[in-house]
Symmetry: C2
Subunit: 333 residues, 2 copies
DNA sequence: GTGAAAGCGCTAACAC
DNA sequence: GTGTTAGCGCTTTCAC
């Protein structure tokens, strides 16, 4: 409404003077006390607020970081967004959320936000990164502050990943030490990192992999998967995400399968709300706060110094044991 | 990187011409075909993207709406943010998330985003609205596109509310018709609307209110509340939010209290993930999608026409019955 | 057919 | 002590 220039006119000085006073620049000392007073008072009265659009233009920065992801409606992404917002704020940035509904076209479109200077940097959780990695690489001189999450093997783009293999080993180690003889897995076949970690662990301990397939964002398939699990009753089961775990366990419950009495279950994610599940979920915890902080730090580092090499950051996972895993009687070492 | 002016220089025409061509304005027809071609080609080659900061300044709009809330880390707020982002996008707007950690100072600060033209409008979910309503009213000529959620009785500010009283009546009606004789409630004493709805319903059916108190964002208090519930074992219990319900039920589970066998439970919210809880939660559903759409519509309406009166929109609730309520044998009408 | 100029709100460099 | 100027990138009006 009221601009700095208007204010200057009312006070009867130049815009420059007003700017210097309001921002308390060194030069402000050379402005006479009464002029300063007048400016301050009138700014208050007119309810003056600096215009962010003009500031952004002048400073060539929006102080905003975008988080691009599929949807926010599952706890993992919600907590990640939450942590990103907190981390961004610590550095004086705001968070913009851009959802793609896992549509690759929308993903590419959303990435334009940085080229068109809507945001200063982007944290990307891609649904289909491998397929479009080259496009993104082409689009991005790799000078832009872009960080991809959960995409290994992208040396030339900054990334933050969880050390899922080590997490899976921890889980297997725990289960086997407690007397479990086998571990099954439920995951979406299309996404490899967690599956691969599972298979590696199976190999290490000479366990025959047992795999239950479902598709994310497809209730029907998850329910069917749960019914299959109810039939086969693996003694221990690791489920690829908290959200899928919740869905599967709730279906198992309707089928009369009790957790952990009938099946011991661990999930991957370990969101804060999964501690509140019934029963509280054991999990290979992916600490979203650490991921968020690392991602924001990296964005800011690359914004400040675009010439440095991209970093590939790995966040350790932590094993969290709660009630969803049975304590076996015959504790065989 | 590459500006329209640069582009113009390279092509050898004026910025105005380039602008007209790239935006395909009516005047573009009067630009010679080869000039047009040259501009288009070079724009492509130089990877030209319109600079959003300059556009925002020129058009006096950021095409961004802010969602101010405490945190995103509970499902209700996450789903609301998700729905708001979708609704905003339908109208060509982006969503910025500003979290306040329920701090009233931060809330007021966040509201400045609209005066400083960081965003075009604000959807506010306040933790302490009544106390600061006057400040907000003062701050806002009530001309800004501001919508508050879940704050009844604010005639002079646009608001969107759920019809919780009607929802509570539906729930009582259902429970009593199924043979339940009483309904208890667990809520945070400091927040009144849901409690009031509960008490009104109790009055209507001449039921003695039985109230279990807890404090949001205080695990200790929620666990203590759950233990109290485990002791007193009300036959039916309504819990003020999905998040609290999850927490309480998970503690009850550890105490050996089975749902719905020992206690029948309904929550308020009915988020999509509460359907995936174990057991799936019966709920008075607050449809966040409808709330989000109404809020965004109202923001846009007021932005387009600031002189019109603020609206107070009421969204109906829906009763959802799932497994967390026992089916009684003696079905007394 | 195309260009020049002004303006959106602010700041920084330099002038007096 | 304070003002002037130029410029951030774009659009629009009017002139030629």
């Amino acid at each position: 409404m009221s601009s700095l220039t208007e204010l200057a006119e009312k006070v009867g000085v130049s815009p420059a003077t007003v700017s210097i006073v309001l921002n308390n620049r060194p030069l402000a000392k050379r402005v006479s006390a009464k002029t300063r007073e007048k400016i301050l008072v009138l700014a208050q009265e007119m309810n003056y607020r600096p215009n962010h659009m003009a500031l952004a233009m002048q400073r060539q920065t929006t102080q905003t970081i975008a988080f691009i992801c599929g949807r926010l409606n599952s706890p993992f992404y919600a907590e990640l967004a939450d942590d990103l917002a907190i981390a961004a704020e610590k550095h004086g940035y705001r968070l913009m959320v851009q959802m793609t509904c896992w549509d690759t076209g929308k993903e590419l479109e959303a990435l334009e936000m940085i080229a068109s200077r809507i945001v200063d940097g982007i944290v990307l959780f891609s649904g289909a990164f491998p397929e479009q990695a080259d496009k993104i690489r082409g689009l991005y001189s790799s000078k832009w502050p872009l960080v991809v999450l959960e995409q290994r093997d992208e040396q030339d783009i900054s990334s933050v990943n969880f050390d899922i293999e080590s997490g899976m080993r921890d889980l297997f180690g725990y289960l086997l030490s407690r007397g479990f003889k086998s571990v099954a897995m439920a995951d979406d076949r299309r996404f490899l990192p967690k599956q691969n970690a599972y298979r590696k662990a199976c190999e290490k301990w000479s366990i025959t992999p047992e795999f239950f397939d479902f598709q994310y964002w497809n209730s029907e398939s998850i329910e069917q998967c749960a019914r299959q699990i109810a039939l086969e009753r693996p003694e221990a089961l690791v489920i690829a995400s908290d959200y899928a775990a919740a869905h599967i366990i709730s279906v198992l419950g309707k089928c009369g399968v009790r957790i952990p009495h009938d099946i011991s279950i661990a999930s991957i994610d370990g969101t804060r709300w999964s501690e509140l599940y019934n029963p509280p979920l054991s999990a290979v915890c992916q600490n979203t706060q650490k991921m968020a902080e690392a991602a924001i730090d990296e964005i800011i580092r690359r914004k400040a110094n675009p010439e440095t090499l991209p970093r590939n950051i790995v966040i350790p996972t932590e094993l969290r044991i709660l009630n969803s895993i049975a304590s076996k009687q015959n504790n065989i070492q």
